[in-house]
């Protein structure tokens, strides 16, 4: 009501006079270049491993394996994105993955709980613990770095206590339950194809609807192109996986988490507020945003996704071991940063994080395939992270 009456009384704007800060143009050019660096890096990594493994890397079997590993890395990284956007960080995620996967395994194996109940309990624990950490960070004003660093140590200790320093299987006696099926279940090829068709139809319908309603010329076309490209990627993935028994369930889970996170960051006030808090927390407060509730909410979602990753990673290994989740928090942070997320908050996208996760997963998988020793794996991971951040900083400066 206010806006329209102002609009009526003031003369229309003069579109001719435009004041632009020239540095803005330079920045966007730098961003355009840096947007190309990571896809090229990915191609180089894939090309290298394809040659070095004499083609094994690109076999249907390895690629569907890679898809599962990508799903595990990316689910945690997407949670990390939600925490980094408002300017925080979660160093406890890796230990959390181990702890919650372990709790569920112990409840099943030692206490005879049904798998669904054990996983529900693990999920509840994740939600509660991360909500609690969020509350401490906000209310007591202790930096997230410190609180989650404590979490890293505490959860690792708890995990070892819970599994009594041993290996706890997630299924008693070689059968299967929904816990183990998390990573072993594959959609039948026909279901995979039908799912692909449904996704394609939805994407293209939405894009066409957008094109009709969008005011800006070219926007609708871009949307349509993007919808077609995404549909083709999904189709390619399904076809590859169908060559090796069908689409793995983790990929479907990742798809769901991706869509949910994308929707949250792009289409809800919650997502906008995450960017606003990370971009300028004081301005967010004065703008009347519920800054505390939003930040705690982001941590709670991180707890949920940590629990989910805990189940996936533990199921992938088959049992809860003492090393599960080791360094996974750093892979998640690295995936975010490689994907263009700013550690100071306020900048980062779901697409970028997926790309970052893919680079990490492709690298780890390739090194595993070539039988690279764990020592060298660590060095390679560190180098890639440093290179990615350096390239990002360098390109943004230009």
């Amino acid at each position: 009501m206010t806006t329209t009456s102002i609009g009526q009384t003031l003369p229309p704007q003069n579109p001719g006079a435009v004041a632009v800060d020239p540095s803005a143009i330079k920045v966007s050019r730098g961003q355009a270049i840096s947007a190309m660096v990571m896809p090229i890096a990915l191609l180089l990594i894939v090309g290298f491993f394809a040659v070095a493994s004499s083609g094994n890397y690109l076999s249907a079997q390895n690629l569907s394996q890679l898809a599962i590993e990508l799903s595990i890395t990316a689910v945690l990284a997407l949670g990390m994105l939600l925490v980094i956007l408002p300017g925080h960080i979660d160093l406890s995620a890796g230990s959390g993955v181990g702890l919650i996967g372990g709790i569920a395994a112990v409840l099943i194996t030692s206490h005879g709980w049904p798998a669904w109940a054990a996983m529900a309990a693990g999920t509840a624990a994740g939600l509660l613990i991360w909500w609690g950490m969020g509350m401490i960070i906000i209310k007591e004003r202790v930096p997230a770095f410190i609180i989650t660093l404590s979490g890293l140590l505490i959860f690792r200790g708890l995990h070892l206590l819970v599994i009594k320093n041993s290996t706890v299987p997630i299924v008693p006696g070689g059968q299967s339950n929904i816990y183990s099926l998390l990573t072993t279940y594959r959609l039948s090829p026909m279901v995979g194809l039908i799912l692909t068709a449904v996704i394609g139809v939805i994407l293209i319908t939405v894009a066409i609807a957008q094109r009709r309603s969008s005011g800006t010329p070219g926007h609708g076309e871009t949307m349509l192109m993007r919808a077609i490209v995404i549909s083709q990627c999904v189709l390619l993935l399904v076809l590859i996986c169908n060559g090796n028994g069908g689409l793995p369930l983790p990929v479907v889970i990742l798809g769901t988490v991706t869509v949910a996170t994308w929707f949250l960051t792009r289409h809800t006030p919650f997502g906008r507020y995450l960017y606003a808090i990370g971009g300028n927390e004081e301005a967010a407060i004065v703008s009347g945003l519920p800054v505390h509730a939003i930040t705690v909410g982001a941590f709670a979602i991180m707890g949920l996704l940590t629990a989910l990753t805990g189940f996936l990673q533990t199921a992938y290994t088959g049992s809860s071991t003492t090393t599960i989740g080791n360094l996974m928090e750093l892979d998640a942070v690295a995936a975010c940063v490689i994907g263009g997320t700013s550690l100071r908050g306020g900048r980062g996208t779901v697409g970028g994080v997926l790309l970052g996760s893919l680079i990490i997963a492709a690298l780890l998988n390739g090194m595993g395939l070539l039988g690279v020793s764990p020592e060298k794996k660590l060095i390679a991971r560190g180098t890639v992270l440093a290179l990615a951040v350096w390239a990002d900083v360098r390109l943004r400066k230009q």
Partner: protein
């Protein structure tokens, strides 16, 4: 270009001269042919709206834009110079004091003055701290700056920090000092001190380029005035032979008849009532004492006072962002606003704040215009839930577009990053964001600070629209003419208390100033007796 004045003042060879400077950025020509000369011992003011090219000109003259990146010539003492960096310019005796000061708060005054050029001893191995402090002392005394060289900069007020910057520049044998909006954050007293120092520097033969939106100051200090508009030097005027209206006319390219177009609204009920408000800060210090006032629908209540009188603190506290209420009552639109209200609740209740520090409290600079405009009012355009629901993008864009157009924001599109806009346009975005919430009471803290004349007028027009629509406006301003021109009633704060309240008809500059200084004088008297 019109050359209205004669040869450079005092007839001497210019110490600094720009000939037909053209500076291009990708997509934009920032300078389209600027010529300008600075005589020895002259104060030469540069005037122009934001985006007129003043900043680019300074950056070109001081080596930020290196030789080769612009066309035209820069001459120092008649010789063409090609600065590769700001260091070259400093060696040639050109120093710039920017709006955002470049001091290290944790260091002392003397450490800052000699930062990077500390006198050495033991063959250059160690800093000669004695000389750092003694030379600083001499320098500060020489220019009559009453600052303790051993004081840490973080404990100095903004006015003193500026003087430290000037002392730092003078320590480097500067002959041309460029001041970019030096008084934007100063009180009237501090401005007077600064102008005195500038006159002193001039009498010592230093040439100054003075950039300010405040024409009163320009006319108080400048010998000549060059007006820039749209990247061109429009005219150079002799300050004694011209007047403010002529300068403004050149700046905006049109006549401005009334600088303060306040139109009285129809007064309605009380929108905000404050009774006996006393507030303590986080350290337990009483920052506001026994403050009472009220604002009615359709009314502009101006709040004046010296720097540190508690004006900003009052607004921030009422909004819920500062301090703890220990006594008093606040009634917003007929219902009590209880102590400890959060900003999010204030906004929901119809109370919005436009802060004096728009970059810190107003904007997410990295984000687009559209993002910032709708940030405070996403709830109403979301389906399902206020926070977790889905934003109706079309509705949001349409609403943003209406405001973007009506505020006449000068930007290519609504996707433009807010950080790249000029001060005036940024201020419009902050105002737009506040108005989009449909407020009942609007707090404006220095809404025209650092923005150009044209944008100021638009802000004033906006204030008129708000009151015409029945909103109550509380306007804090350090500029007396603005306070008197735009307020229907004026409340003066002095040291956290009400120093006086005046109807528009009875307010004079003298009365307001006396009220603002009233308690300060009493205190000084008390102190003298002890």
């Amino acid at each position: 270009m019109v050359q209205a004045s004669d040869a450079p003042a005092r007839g001497a060879r210019p110490v600094l001269e720009a000939l037909n400077l053209v500076k291009r950025f990708p997509g934009v020509v920032a300078l389209k042919g600027v010529s300008f000369d600075l005589a020895p011992g002259e104060v030469h003011a540069l005037c122009g709206e934001n985006g007129a090219g003043k900043s680019t000109l300074i950056k070109t003259l001081s080596g930020v834009h290196p030789a080769g990146s612009y066309e035209g010539q820069i001459l120092v003492d008649g010789q063409v110079v090609n600065f590769a960096s700001t260091k070259d310019a400093q060696r040639a005796g050109i120093a710039v004091i920017y709006q955002e000061l470049a001091l290290v708060p944790e260091m002392t005054v003397a450490e800052n003055i000699f930062l990077g050029s500390e006198p050495r001893r033991l063959g250059g191995l160690a800093i000669d701290w004695e000389r750092v402090y003694s030379q600083s002392q001499v320098l500060l005394e020489q220019f009559k700056l009453s600052i303790d060289p051993t004081a840490k900069v973080q404990y100095l007020g903004i006015g003193h920090r500026q003087l430290v910057e000037i002392a730092k520049a003078l320590s480097k044998k500067t002959k041309v000092l460029i001041l970019d909006e030096p008084t934007a954050a100063l009180t009237e007293q501090e401005v007077a001190v600064l102008l005195g120092i500038i006159r002193d520097l001039r009498s010592r033969g230093i040439s100054l380029i003075y950039i300010s939106h405040k024409l009163d100051e320009v006319f108080a200090i400048a010998d000549r005035i060059t007006v820039l508009r749209d990247g061109q030097s429009i005219v150079t005027l002799d300050a004694k032979k011209t007047n403010q209206n002529e300068v403004i006319k050149h700046m905006v390219g049109r006549e401005i008849t009334d600088l303060f177009p306040r139109r009285q609204g129809t007064l309605g009920d009380d929108r905000l009532v404050v009774k006996g408000l006393t507030v303590k800060d986080a350290d337990g210090q009483e920052i506001l004492s026994d403050i009472s006032f009220h604002v009615r629908s359709g009314e502009v209540l101006g709040i004046g006072g010296l720097m540190g009188a508690g004006r900003t603190e009052l607004l921030m506290h009422l909004f819920g962002a500062l301090g703890k209420r220990v006594a008093g009552e606040v009634i917003l639109d007929g219902k009590p606003l209880r102590a400890g209200t959060k900003p999010s609740e204030s906004v929901r209740r119809g109370l919005v704040l436009v802060s004096e520090d728009r970059k810190r409290y107003g904007l997410v600079l990295d984000q687009s215009i559209g993002f910032n405009l709708s940030l405070s009012s996403l709830g109403p355009v979301s389906r399902g839930h206020r926070v977790m629901g889905m934003i109706d993008a079309r509705h949001e864009t349409r609403r943003n577009r209406e405001l973007f157009d009506s505020l006449r924001v000068k930007a290519p599109t609504m996707e433009t990053r807010v950080g790249t806009l000029s001060g005036g346009n940024q201020q419009k975005i902050v105002l737009g964001k506040a108005l989009m919430t449909g407020p009942k009471v609007v707090f404006l803290d220095e809404p025209t600070r650092g923005i150009d004349v044209g944008a100021k007028l638009e802000v004033y027009e906006l204030i008129n629209r708000l009151t015409a629509e029945g909103m109550a406006v509380v306007l804090v301003s350090s500029e007396m003419p603005e306070l008197m021109g735009m307020s229907d009633r004026i409340l003066i704060l002095a040291e956290g208390r009400v120093g006086g309240e005046f109807e528009k008809s009875e307010a004079t500059q003298e009365k307001l100033l006396a009220a603002a200084m009233g308690r300060a004088k009493v205190r000084a008297g008390e102190a003298a007796e002890h």
